[in-house]
Symmetry: C2
Subunit: 197 residues, 2 copies
DNA sequence: AGATATATGTCAATAAGACTGACATAATTT
DNA sequence: AAATTATGTCAGTCTTATTGACATATATCT
């Protein structure tokens, strides 16, 4: 056997120095904030695990979750706007969106001014799904903020917001174009048809 | 009044009521913390975009990043331990790990006590890659914490730590078994919760 | 010693979710 | 009429993950 006990690699060792194992721990000394880097990794891993379990029951994945979420948060957004927020391609969205439409979670409405556009709206079913997915995440957040005062919460929100690329920060919390804000937006989400013959 | 132009769906409408578009905005009124939910989504999306660009140059993906990171943070961990941290299967890890070994970023060392085990160590090259990947993330975090005092940072860390499933919280900040390095960092995954009911 | 269990590696098949490229259609704009 | 825009769709590829089955070396138990 040409191998020593150190290397079990099947590739021929190019140079023993180059494949020498580094046994020291990579720690914060290098001026890198590994603490927060890892905290973000673990926090997000578990944050997404909540809705994942619910989605699995529907045969959906995270892609469906993102679409359902933003359509509910910004009802009436167009396909192009959704692609921009999600930063995926049209073809990637297609399959997911089609499934959500076929299952009656989302409907498309022809744009009132530009009839080429498809405004996306949740149905009652889609609204319910969105709430069901968000509920455990919100509960997890509430638990994580237990014992936090107002300043603590503000610090967390400021940190997260500042983590976003400045030029993309505009997307955050942007309620729909029709920003009716609180007060019930459209009042009630009842149908509103346009005749077209 | 039967709707006409409202639905462009190709599927036969099962019931007009069921596919009626909901036009109201899904907002915090429902007692759900959509603000932080979306902040986490956007923050993590951009947080991972930094290393993604570097990885692309190597033909690597996020899976490689996670492996390189934890092998550097806990040099000498075994394959089984790595699988446990990443929460993926052996088969999923196999290809990624093989690539990292073949490219000389990681080496395997036979376990000193149990020779079935393979302890994973970075090479100098792997250490360098790990630092290169972490650097922009650390810079982003530092920028996001600019103007934050000690209490603010503590609030952020506490929030993130509490977002992790309690039973998995032990993995956090856990330095390697062999505490060769100075450590500092988080020490070990001690839970700190603000004394509150 | 022999049997069993463990740690790891590997082959094969599958799936979700993303990608690119190419092309079609309808509607708006020029 | 021509060009542009918004959307849809087909076809193929890639990465990362999955499960199942099986091989090998080593450790441990009886």
């Amino acid at each position: 056997m040409p191998e020593r006990s150190v290397s079990i690699a099947t590739k021929p060792p190019p140079d023993d120095d180059r494949i020498a194992p580094v046994r020291s721990v990579l720690s914060e000394e290098e001026g890198i904030d590994f603490t927060v880097i890892e905290l973000l990794f673990f926090a997000y891993r578990d944050f997404t695990s909540d809705p994942d379990q619910i989605l699995a029951q529907y045969g959906f994945g995270r892609a469906h979750h993102r679409v359902v979420h933003f359509v509910n948060r910004r009802p009436g957004l167009t396909v192009a706007e959704l692609l921009d927020v999600l930063k995926i391609t049209k073809q990637s969205l297609a399959r997911v969106l089609k499934q959500l439409i076929d299952t009656g979670h989302i409907v498309q409405v022809q744009g009132p001014r530009d009839r080429r556009q498809r405004e996306l709206y949740p149905t009652a079913k889609g609204r319910a799904l969105s709430l069901a997915l968000a509920a455990p995440q919100s509960r997890r957040i509430a638990r994580a903020l237990e014992g936090s005062d107002f300043a603590d919460r503000a610090a967390v929100e400021r940190f997260l917001k500042n983590m976003v690329d400045p030029e993309l920060r505009a997307q955050i919390g942007k309620t729909p174009r029709t920003d009716a804000g609180a007060g019930g937006a459209n009042g009630d989400g009842v149908e509103e048809n346009r005749g077209e013959g």
